[in-house]
């Protein structure tokens, strides 16, 4: 395999004496093949060019979760990322994870991330909802989310976390789903009730960035979708998140289309709507006002029938993780 010269641009970060982070970009030149991992390159820079370069790493095989960092604009595990895949014109930009405080270079303070995980009661609890037997298929939901190694990649790339430090984040929610879907968990309902609180599951903006960025195929957003399904089924429908989501099936049956005119009223209530009047007038200026009575799709009776059939005979359509036997 041919050896190329890569320019590695690293955002060096240092805490100043008054606690601020001083940052600047520094370039290193490294010879490597396309399949050299970013971790090997960082090791080489630290070992042979600049011992002050600081980053975490441990297992080298994508299972310990230490080396997640921004590489080429996205958060990735340095140990499984090939330089050839992320280099643009033989240049790679590397920086610390986002949305979290930095200690030095790529080493972030992992405390706040884990504090969020702690919030979801991250252990099996006893209670009345434990299943008697753990069946062979019991973990086809658990299996996806137990792949999580808590590397923080999803949180670092989360578009909601970027604007909302209060948001619990994808990793914690995926972990929550791991317990909600475990047949041995005794307090599933209590968990779902807590997860319906503000800044928890309903604050996910559904951008699926976590699904793309996760190095272990945990698909956190899919877990969040399933949490919401279970929560709605339990009737935890207070708050704008579930109210908004529940508007859809009603409208589809009524007219075939979303009634965007009444949607706000139903989601945030009268007070919320009044608060939003300014925004409404702003939209109105450009004629962006939905029709109170949207035109109806043809064949709506079919939808009512489908809905009725499914309410009477619910179908399990959840995606399931494949059973994995060790290699």
């Amino acid at each position: 395999m041919p050896v190329n010269t890569y320019t590695i641009r690293i955002q060096r970060k240092r805490k100043t004496s008054d606690g601020r982070i001083d940052s600047h970009w520094k370039e290193y030149s490294v010879k490597a093949t396309e399949t050299t991992t970013i971790l090997s390159i960082l090791e080489e820079i630290k070992g042979e060019q600049d011992g002050t370069l600081t980053f975490r790493q441990s297992c080298r095989s994508a299972i310990c979760g230490s080396c997640a960092m921004k590489i080429g604009g996205r958060t990735r595990l340095a140990c499984k990322t090939h330089v050839g895949v992320v280099a643009r014109d033989n240049v790679v930009e590397i920086a610390s994870q986002a949305n979290q405080p930095v200690l030095k270079d790529m080493a972030i303070d992992i405390g706040p991330f884990f504090e969020r995980v702690h919030k979801i009661t991250p252990y099996l609890t006893e209670g009345p909802e434990t299943d008697a037997v753990t069946e062979k298929t019991a973990y086809d939901q658990v299996n996806h989310v137990t792949q999580c190694i808590m590397c923080g990649s999803c949180y670092s790339d989360c578009t909601m976390a970027e604007v909302s430090p209060e948001f619990i984040g994808p990793a914690a929610l995926a972990k929550a789903f791991r317990f909600v879907s475990d047949p041995r968990e005794g307090q599933k309902t209590k968990r779902l009730r807590q997860l319906a609180e503000p800044h928890m599951m309903w604050s996910c903006a559904r951008c699926a960035m976590c699904v793309e960025t996760c190095p272990k195929d945990v698909k956190p957003m899919e877990a969040i979708v399933k949490l919401r399904t279970r929560s709605v089924a339990k009737g935890f429908n207070d708050g704008p998140g579930p109210k908004h989501a529940l508007a859809f099936h009603h409208d589809i049956q009524q007219s075939g289309h979303l009634n965007e005119f009444t949607l706000m009223m139903r989601t945030v209530g009268i007070m919320g709507t009044l608060e939003e009047l300014g925004t409404a007038f702003h939209l109105l200026k450009k004629g962006k006002v939905p029709s109170l009575f949207p035109h109806k799709s043809a064949g709506l009776a079919e939808l009512a029938k489908i809905y009725e059939i499914l309410e009477q005979n619910p179908l399990d359509v959840e995606t399931k993780a494949k059973e994995v036997v060790p290699e």
């Binding site: 011992g51 080298r60 310990c64 036997v325 290699e327």
Partner: protein, 563 residues
């Protein structure tokens, strides 16, 4: 001065399992770990955990397999204890929340593993270690155990009566050095795979607990027994699991010859780890390798089977080696994998040094003898984590804090200052590590030949001298990994010396220790444990020996080990 009843160093499976016993006993227990608990290397164990939970299996059979697998140098009482406790320890993990894979009806699924006479390896998909680690961490959170995260132990401190008094801690995040007093210290710091340049281990597996226990006066046992895994990827040493050969993969040399027919005509690629590793090394030494590797060839299995049965191995090789097993053979070589040696303890995890305990890979109880069986390492951690933790809590009753001399901290601080002050004399930490660990691969690898070993041992003084000249780029306090690695390298050098001296002295071949000049096992003279101790006067490691603990069962009597 901060203090705890029990300080556990290391937050892998053994350390965390021990901590839970401390919680149960109501003592003040704290964990000190240089990485977050979930980063611990226990997570890398894919295979599974052994236990006779099936009514058709027996604990006796498990014990027998383990005694034989360890080539008759494991302590039989400890082995029986481990195998006896195995089922309950596994079921306990299950109750805590580990999602072990199931069979119809809800029982835990089990599968076959090397050296076992029954399918007794419980597994959780292909990430048993990871989910067990996460389970114990969850329990730690539940019990609100005090964890000193990203804090490295730089010294084990004893009082004038050679009784453990605590440790000196270096907070990696801030650079702060502080004393931590404890009535007892439990080392659960894992193995020393990094002693070898080519290894399957995490970069953090530097055997800190063993090395500092050695310097504090505790004996280490059987350090020369290092398990080499036959299929480490050439460039990184990362493991390709045995499953690749289980599915029918061939081992070929540079000429494309399936060489195992020469070394193990019956079992071929599926012979035990030590046999396969020696065969590969012979091919490489005799010039039939390429760049120091032979090849694992999966191509004949076909794309479909590889994608269906070995997707993770394929992905790993693509990610780390840039080779797609569908199209090309994978370059592999024997790679240091597991440390059978460790801090010498009795069957309850107590070291002869008063107040020092150890469990897991850091300890030598000894249950693995000269060769560990697959699926017994995870078992070791949860069984002896629990037993040692419990025993330690019993032992603690009535014990008091010992005198912790302030000079201990000052010495560490001045050592740090000295390291930071050193002028650049051209010795960089990475280069010295490569010299030390590369030498271990070269002189103390799969085969050990007297002249070659002597050559390696002769390089030790120069390495020690250069270590004192080593220069650090990073002078800062916060997150100074450069500094941390300097201390770790010191530990690796000490442990290398134990391995070297133990290997030179042991004039036989047993388990993972293969001497070219003594190809056979010698039970009459060498069925005994090697003890390594630091001699402060001589400033070197000295050896002594201790008998294997036997229980007198006829079926445990040494036999020729065939599979």
């Amino acid at each position: 001065m901060k203090s705890h009843d029990l300080i556990i160093v290391g937050a892998g499976l053994a350390g965390m399992r021990a901590a839970l016993e401390g919680v149960k006993a109501g003592i003040d227990v704290a964990i000190v770990t240089k990485i977050h608990p979930l980063r611990s290397h226990s997570c890398a164990a894919q295979g599974g955990v052994n236990g006779a939970i099936d009514p058709r299996d027996s604990r006796e059979s498990h014990s027998y397999d383990t005694v034989k697998g360890g080539d008759y140098i494991g302590d039989e009482d400890a082995i029986e204890l481990m195998c006896h406790e195995a089922p309950e320890s596994i079921l306990e993990m299950d109750r805590m929340g580990t999602p072990f894979s199931r069979v119809e009806g809800g029982l835990i699924a089990q599968r076959a593993f090397g050296g076992a006479s029954f399918n007794r390896t419980c597994y959780a998909a292909d990430r048993t270690g990871q989910v067990m680690l996460h389970t114990l961490w969850e329990q730690l959170v539940k019990a609100d155990v005090r964890v000193y995260e990203e804090c490295s132990m730089l010294r084990l401190v004893t009082d004038a009566e050679k009784h453990v008094a605590g440790i000196v801690v270096y907070d990696i995040k801030t650079g702060e050095v502080f004393p931590l007093r404890g009535k007892a210290v439990l080392m659960a710091t894992g193995g020393y795979g990094r002693v070898f340049l080519s290894n399957t281990n995490a970069t953090t597996n530097t055997g800190d607990g063993m090395a500092l226990a050695l310097r504090a006066g505790a004996p280490l046992a059987d350090m020369e027994f290092v398990q080499f895994h036959p299929t480490g990827l050439l460039s990184s040493g990362i493991l390709v699991t045995e499953g690749a050969r289980g599915e029918g993969g061939y081992l070929i040399n540079v000429h494309g010859e399936r060489f195992m027919s020469k070394y193990a005509p019956n079992k071929l690629e599926l012979a035990s780890r030590d046999v396969v590793s020696r065969a590969e090394q012979t091919e490489i030494l005799e010039g039939r390798g390429k760049n120091g590797a032979v090849f694992l060839d999966l191509r004949h299995l076909g794309k479909e089977k590889i994608l269906e049965r070995l997707p993770q191995i394929r992905q790993l090789a693509i990610d780390l080696e840039g080779v797609d097993a569908i199209h090309d053979p994978l370059p592999i070589r024997p790679t240091a994998h597991y440390s059978m040696g460790g801090i010498r303890t009795n069957m309850y995890g107590a070291s002869p040094l008063q107040g020092l305990f150890s469990a897991g890979e850091a300890a030598c109880v000894s249950v693995h003898g000269a060769n560990r069986l697959g699926g017994n390492s995870l078992l070791d951690t949860i069984v002896f984590g629990k037993i040692t933790g419990k025993h330690c809590c019993d032992w603690l009753k009535g014990k008091v804090l010992r005198n912790f001399a302030a000079s201990e901290v000052d010495e560490v601080k001045s050592r740090i200052a000295d390291l930071k002050r050193r002028p650049d004399q051209g010795v960089r930490p990475l280069a010295l590590l490569q010299r030390t660990a590369g030498g271990m691969n070269q002189y103390f690898g799969v085969f050990r030949t007297p002249e070659i070993m002597q050559e390696g041992l002769a390089k030790l003084p120069a390495i020690r001298a250069d270590y004192e000249k080593m220069h650090l780029d990073d002078k800062s306090d916060e997150f100074n990994i450069d500094l941390l690695r300097a201390f770790e390298l010191g530990n690796l050098i000490d442990l290398s010396e134990c391995i070297m001296r133990g290997a030179v002295a042991r004039q036989e071949s047993r388990g993972a220790h293969a001497r070219t000049d003594f190809p056979d096992r010698d039970d009459e003279n060498w069925r005994k444990h090697t003890l390594s101790q630091w001699d402060p006067g001589k400033q070197e490691v000295v050896l002594s020996y201790e008998a294997v603990r036997t229980v007198g069962k006829a079926e445990y009597a040494p036999k020729v080990r065939t599979y």
